[in-house]
């Protein structure tokens, strides 16, 4: 069957983006960003804590490292759960020893089911990012706008009941529907990390005005480098350092930069992976001009630019 002639019609072919979520902005035309104390690179380390319900039915698309084996998939369930029992505490200890300001993106269901973990996170002074209900609740257009609004409301409510006060959002699997940015803004959230399209924060527009996108380079995450691509922790650590040096060099010439690093407790928290990651982070922390910052502080700094 031939294609309809509408296939050769391009309704959004014009200046800027092909949607109204945010505006096009060329890298070369950005204003210079200055970090507190003249720092060059803001280092943001985000630990992700996730709950994969054992009875997950087919999701709209597969989540990286999700449950894919027949019920009951103890293999993947327990591999991921390892992160919430063992891996995260190993990472928390490492990050605290290095003096790194940390955020934790956490599924609401996990916050509810593990009060010990949540209290520990709060006691350590970490910033909690709402990470949806759980890894079975992916945000797509298959869910109605009202249902999605309710998912977001419940996620925030559950996290608050557990003692956190999230101002930011990361969807499970970075999934968003056409309504998500608007619903996040409506829920009073200040930032989201689902759009991996920039190395610097930028504002959403239109119905999502007020919401800011923070950089989330998922290819420099442990899920991709080690979980999916089977690179070694040494190779992962090299990439972190290479990324840092590149950003640091740019910041010297151009503008403050953000190095956003995502660690999943079930992957980076494996014993044999800790040392290379620790060494890379330690080298960055010892470097001059590094500002270890939680996402809320980065957002605050961006908002207070002259």
């Amino acid at each position: 069957m031939p294609l309809p002639d509408e296939y050769l019609v391009y309704p959004r072919r014009g200046y800027g983006m092909d949607h109204d979520f945010y505006e096009w902005s060329a890298w070369s035309q950005r204003p210079k960003i200055t970090w507190p104390d003249g720092a060059r690179v803001a280092l943001w380390v985000n630990v992700v804590l996730e709950q994969f319900p054992l009875d997950t039915e087919k999701t709209p698309f597969p989540v990286p490292l999700g449950l894919e084996r027949p019920y009951p998939d103890y293999w993947n369930y327990t591999l991921r759960d390892y992160g919430n029992r063992v891996g995260c505490y190993r990472l928390f200890r490492m990050l605290d020893n290095l003096g790194i300001k940390t955020s934790v993106a956490m599924n609401a269901a996990l916050a509810q089911s593990t009060p010990f973990l949540m209290q520990d996170i709060i006691a350590r002074g970490y910033e909690v990012i709402a990470h949806g209900l759980d890894m079975a609740h992916l945000h797509t257009n298959a869910t109605s706008e009202e249902d999605e609004r309710e998912w977001i409301r419940r996620s925030l409510e559950m996290l608050r009941q557990a003692g956190a006060n999230p101002t930011g959002w990361l969807s499970p699997g970075q999934s968003q529907s056409d309504h998500t940015p608007k619903l996040l803004a409506e829920a009073g959230l200040e930032y989201c990390c689902d759009w991996s399209n920039d190395d610097m924060p930028y504002p959403f527009t239109g119905p999502a005005s007020g919401l800011v996108s923070l950089p989330y380079p998922f290819e420099l995450s442990d899920v991709y480098c080690m979980g999916l691509w089977h690179q070694t922790a040494v190779e992962f650590a090299e990439q972190i350092l290479d990324g840092f040096h590149a950003l640091n060099a740019e910041a010297t010439k151009e503008s403050g930069r953000v190095l956003a690093l995502t660690l999943h407790a079930s992957i980076s928290g494996q014993p044999y992976r800790v040392k290379p990651i620790r060494e890379a982070l330690s080298a960055i922390m010892k470097h001059e001009g590094v500002w270890s910052a939680k996402p809320g502080a980065i957002l605050q700094a961006v908002r207070s630019q002259p």
Partner: protein, 309 residues
């Protein structure tokens, strides 16, 4: 036309073909082909190929591609300028409309713009010949209006073709295709009219393949590029070779990936018998000096090695 074979080129074995001499005795014609692309958030469906892996809107994948235009491409262009390497841009021409700033920068630096279709989310699969003709004219006109350049090269979006595509390209004055991966040297492509060549583009050296399929680290990718070059440089003493590094700013423009590539490019540049060039210049050189010889040689081989009886 047999469906079992492309029928686009003759068998010309590496050890029996006219030797190529590049300008100034270069052994390798080296070109870098950044793919500057625009993927739509809500593309229309094409029954043969999904534009996105996840259901629309595929925010993860869309934003990843968008990264190339917002951040990666600027970093890549500056670095290539610094090295003195021109790009031959495989362009989704809708970028001329959406992001003219990028096009202006490429034109300023005397980079070649060639066709990578209109959007990377629109494929020629299932188009009629008439529709594909409209599609091709759109591309040619858009690049001309944005840059004054004539379209010489063609890389189909997602390397998707129809059996008549090469004929249409030749008829529209395109001089080279990047969709054929059968050789390390340019080759004539059999078309009804015109003189179309294939120019080696390479999937092996392509950052998309290296990173997202072969799952290599940036440093490993750099080593692969150097190894590819070393072999071709040695062989190029006998007959000039072509090496292409196809890039995607959404991948290579990330901070942790750029340096190993630049180091490899610098290594290549440090050799004296390298022709740092563009797809267009290679295609024109080949067409003007070797196209006819290659066709004649293939014909001779067919005749002299015809099966008995």
């Amino acid at each position: 036309m047999k469906r079992s074979e492309p029928g686009l080129y003759d068998y010309l074995p590496l050890t029996s073909r006219p030797a190529i001499r590049w300008p100034n005795g270069a052994r390798v014609a080296f070109w870098v082909a950044p793919n500057i692309e625009f993927y739509e958030l809500h593309p229309p469906p094409n029954m043969s190929k999904n534009a996105w892996v996840r259901p629309n809107p595929d925010v993860l994948n869309y934003s990843w591609r968008d990264y190339g235009n917002r951040a990666g491409v600027w970093r890549m262009i500056d670095a290539m300028k610094e090295l003195g390497i021109r790009g031959s841009v495989s362009l989704n021409v809708a970028v001329c409309d959406h992001h003219p700033e990028i096009i202006r920068r490429c034109v300023e630096l005397d980079w070649e713009l060639f066709s990578h279709g209109i959007y990377n989310t629109r494929f020629v699969l299932n188009m009629s010949i008439e529709q594909e003709q409209i599609f091709i004219r759109d591309v040619i006109d858009t690049i001309y209006q944005a840059s004054g350049q004539k379209v010489d090269g063609w890389l189909s979006p997602s390397v998707s073709n129809n059996p008549w595509t090469m004929d249409l390209l030749a008829e529209n004055g395109v001089t080279y295709t990047c969709d054929l991966f059968h050789d390390d040297q340019p080759m004539p492509v059999r078309t009804e009219t015109g003189r179309l060549c294939s120019i080696p583009y390479s999937l092996e050296m392509n950052d998309v393949i290296a990173y997202t399929r072969a799952m290599k680290t940036p440093r490993e990718y750099g080593r692969m590029i150097k190894a590819q070059f070393d072999q071709l440089y040695a062989e190029g003493e006998e007959s000039g070779m072509v090496m292409c590094v196809p890039l995607h700013p959404y991948l290579i423009g990330q901070p942790h990936r750029l340096e190993p590539l630049l180091e490899a490019l610098d290594y290549i540049k440090s050799h004296d018998k390298v022709w740092l060039t563009t797809g267009r210049e290679i295609a024109h050189w080949y067409r003007d000096h070797y196209y006819d010889d290659a066709v004649a040689h293939a014909k001779m081989l067919r005749t002299s090695h015809a099966p008995a009886g």
